[in-house]
């Protein structure tokens, strides 16, 4: 297992290097630069002479490879630099927003688990029955309803009509409910269907028939024997969804005034705030790689056969 962890950490460094190189080049090739945003704050614009002078001052007139090398040199010393727009150290901005992102990720994960596991189990147990059809309809809705519309409908129902939950903001657990449902629902419905498909495949396996022959109860078979095996493909796909959950959804953050990393990144992209964009890419890239590593390690817990194979390889 240690070898796997070491390999993945080495991969992380390589992934981050290429990721940073790719984003840096792409951002520089895109039209516009931060000078427009710095000088044109709140409507009052600057002259072209002012823009040229500031571009020189910030070193944005230098060739891309020099700018990249300088940035990389700072990163090697764990210095993410400061925002070109507000002068704030980038690490401070990220540390301020990371808890909000993690809180929203945790909330949506709970929604995902609370909806998808029971719904997947029930849909598999009662294949072709009404609960299965409901699960299908929910999956279809989850995949097709845009997050902003769902968020607005939830605000309309639970905040405006019923007055149970706040429309937006952050602070209490009540504030977390609507954004978590908005982010988690779409994924939950899809995962419920994936889990159902996995369970149906596992339920016809010999060891399940053997368990039934031994008189083990149907629910116990589902939960104890089938669920674990059916979770492996679900977990694999979850690794790909981790990015959207961890990096936050900009629409959800805008809708609910949730000050997470996604909101920060979009603002930085619009204003071409290069140090913030680069730091965001590095942080979210690292988080996604780490989540996938954890998922790989979790296979050994979910299915002991995986552990056996890994140990034999090592």
């Amino acid at each position: 297992m240690l070898t796997i962890i070491k390999e993945r950490l080495l991969q992380l460094v390589i992934v981050l290097f290429f990721l940073s190189l790719f984003t840096f080049t792409l951002m520089k090739l895109a039209p516009g630069d931060p000078v427009f945003s710095i000088l044109r704050a709140d409507e009052v614009a600057a002259t072209t002479a002012d823009e040229e002078a500031l571009r020189k001052e910030l070193g944005l007139d230098q060739p891309i490879y020099i700018q990249y090398t300088k940035w990389m040199y700072s990163i090697m010393q764990f210095d993410f630099g400061s925002s070109l727009i507000n002068g704030k150290p980038v690490w401070k901005d990220i540390l301020e927003r990371l808890p909000a992102t993690l809180e929203l990720a945790a909330g949506s994960l709970i929604v995902l688990l609370v909806i998808s596991i029971p719904l997947g189990l029930l849909a598999a147990k009662y294949e072709g029955k009404w609960i299965d059809h409901i699960s299908s309809i929910l999956a279809l809705l989850g995949a097709s309803i845009p997050a902003f519309w769902l968020g607005l409908m939830l605000i309309y129902g639970f905040s405006y009509r019923l007055g149970w939950l706040p429309t937006m903001g952050m602070g209490s657990a009540a504030h977390l409910v609507l954004p978590s449902i908005t982010l988690g629902f779409g994924l939950a419905a899809i995962y419920a269907r994936m889990l159902r498909a996995g369970l149906l495949e596992v339920l016809v396996q010999d060891y399940i028939r053997a368990a039934r022959a031994r008189g083990v109860g149907e629910w116990r078979i589902m939960y104890k024997h089938a669920l674990r095996a059916a979770l492996i493909p679900v977990m694999t796909v979850f690794g790909t969804s981790a990015g959207s959950i961890l990096a936050g959804s900009v629409i959800i953050e805008t809708l609910f005034s949730w000050p997470g990393l996604g909101d920060m990144a979009i603002e930085a992209i619009f204003k071409r705030d290069y140090p913030v964009i680069q730091a965001y890419v590095m942080i979210s890239g690292s988080m996604i790689v780490m989540v996938n590593l954890l998922i790989d390690l979790s296979y050994t817990w979910i299915d002991p056969r995986v552990r056996y194979v890994k140990e034999r390889i090592t």
Partner: protein
């Protein structure tokens, strides 16, 4: 078995926590417990810093103030400075109020103001060209400012929120980073906490130099989604919600607890013609295109009546606003002008000149959704007389217009008189290399007017010169001014003595109250 049960219990427990805590009232609210008077304001822009020299939010929230302010008639009037005079063409003397203290209790004197202005010049790159400050001298409550060249517009430039007066001594104590989250100013409210892009909480400053604020707390919240702002207002979570969607106003008007304030702001939506393109250099073509702008439909159909048709860069509410006729939509006359300019219909009914069809690239952007709709309306009217208009939506309009030459027209929106003075827009939009002149517009005979305006201190003469400059500009049609959009604000009727100002600077004031 036991382990599985344990896991299931953990999952169930987590779900229950979310449900139970989620459906609670959202935590205790101190203001309810102490029965404090509180106002919740919902603003449409997100704010990630409260540095008064890089954000207008502290001024809007009533935390900081400037030396000069715009009065209701959009004229510069005393605020922290009680009077000022021009000693010689480059020397201004400002006399400051004697009874003003910062939120940390320190007295606001000329030395503190000098330090604050020096900080603003250092912190904000865009300020120096407007202020043109060469040196400052502080003596008691008297601040002498020497400018690098005659700057008659200095008092109006000091209306700029980026010149807000803050305590640099307080900044030195806590450090710039902390200070930018909780700046110390002189306003009726002081900042208690700040969560970037979410909320600034303010409490009444008891030592305020003017009449103290009428209520205890302000929650200044930021949300960029207009529908959410509206629902927050309807559910009584917000007392004031800025920039509501025009199409939703009818719903608010039926609510007995709410009212809608629709006021003409200082903004103008317009079309910029690219003077670098040969066909746009023909005044007959520009006049024809101007006649294809259906301002009436824009006002009624796109803005739902919450706008005024425009006939110049400055709205009539300004003392130097143009009171002439608005150009009426007239496609027949437009076609006539284009025929005069040599454009004739080809076999397909498209206009062409020397065998080249008339094709126009129109640049627009999504930040202001109505601009895209204006572009589509223009495209549709132009198509009816045989002009092909290709609409291109860009992300960063300023960058696109500067870095490309192939565009013909661009939709644009500007605060044309951000400090109640026409000088800024006239210089920026009509001078070569000006900040708002990506089309390289040059209007004949305008420069002598601008030079005279830039050297004139007397406000009445400045207004007269601004008006004359505008009528000269209108003859050349370098722009087509479309509308002056209204500022739409939803207000709970428990808010008293308050109306949104056209300038959008002074939102939270010491005069407003909540019942």
């Amino acid at each position: 078995m036991n382990s599985s049960k344990h896991k299931a219990k953990i999952l169930l427990f987590l779900g229950l926590i979310l449900l139970i805590t989620g459906c609670s009232t959202g935590g205790s609210d101190d203001s309810t417990i102490k029965n404090l008077k509180k106002l919740t304001m919902m603003y449409h822009l997100s704010v990630n810093t409260l540095d008064p020299h890089n954000s207008w939010a502290p001024l809007r929230a009533g935390a900081v103030e400037t030396l000069v302010k715009l009065d209701n008639e959009m004229k510069p009037s005393p605020w922290l400075a009680k009077e000022w005079k021009l000693k010689d063409p480059q020397t201004w003397v400002f006399v400051l109020r004697d009874n003003v203290t910062f939120h940390d209790g320190l007295k606001m004197d000329a030395a503190a103001v000098k330090a604050s202005l020096e900080r603003s010049l250092k912190a904000n790159h865009s300020l120096s060209r407007g202020l043109k400050i060469a040196s400052m001298e502080a003596k008691g409550q008297e601040l002498t400012i020497v400018t690098s060249e005659p700057n008659p517009a200095l008092p109006s430039e000091l209306i700029n929120p980026y010149t807000s007066i803050i305590s640099t001594a307080a900044e030195a104590k806590v450090g710039t980073l902390s200070f930018n989250d909780m700046p110390i100013g002189t306003g009726p409210f002081q900042i208690a906490s700040f969560a970037p892009n979410r909320e600034a909480k303010l409490v009444r400053y008891e030592g305020y130099w003017d009449t103290p604020a009428m209520f205890d707390e302000v929650s200044f919240q930021f949300n960029e989604d207009a529908n959410v702002r509206m629902m927050a207002l309807q559910s009584n979570e917000a007392d004031i919600a800025y920039q509501l969607p025009a199409e939703s106003i009818a719903a608010l008007e039926h609510d007995d607890n709410l009212s809608v304030k629709s006021v003409t702001g200082l903004r103008v939506h317009y079309l910029i013609y690219n003077a670098k393109r040969p066909h746009m250099q023909d005044i007959r073509v520009r006049k024809a295109l101007d006649l294809l702008v259906d301002r009436k439909t824009v006002v009624e159909g796109i803005m739902f009546g919450h706008a005024q048709p425009a006939n110049g860069p400055f709205p009539k509410t300004l003392p130097f606003g143009n009171d002439g006729e608005v150009t009426a939509f007239n496609s027949a006359k437009a076609l006539e002008l284009l025929h005069e300019a040599g454009y004739q219909p080809n076999v397909e009914g498209k206009l062409e000149k020397n065998g080249v069809p008339m094709s126009i690239q129109l640049i627009t952007y999504k930040t202001r959704p109505e601009l895209t709709l204006i572009a589509q309306l223009f495209q549709s009217e132009a198509a009816k007389i045989g002009i092909q208009v290709e609409i291109k939506i860009v992300e960063n309009v300023d960058a696109h217009l500067q870095e490309n030459d192939q565009w013909d027209i661009a939709t644009y929106s500007s605060l044309s008189a951000p400090r109640g003075d026409g000088g800024y827009f006239l210089n920026a939009a009509y001078q070569q290399g000006g900040a708002l002149n990506p089309g390289n517009i040059e209007v004949n005979k305008l420069m002598p007017f601008l030079n005279q305006l830039n050297a004139t201190e007397d406000p009445n003469t400045r207004m007269k010169l601004s008006k004359e400059a505008v009528s000269l500009i209108q003859k050349e049609v370098p722009h087509s001014y479309v509308i002056y959009p209204n500022i739409l604000v939803g207000v709970n009727k428990r808010v008293h003595n308050w109306a949104p100002g056209a300038e959008e600077y002074y939102i939270i004031t010491n005069k407003m109250d909540v019942k």
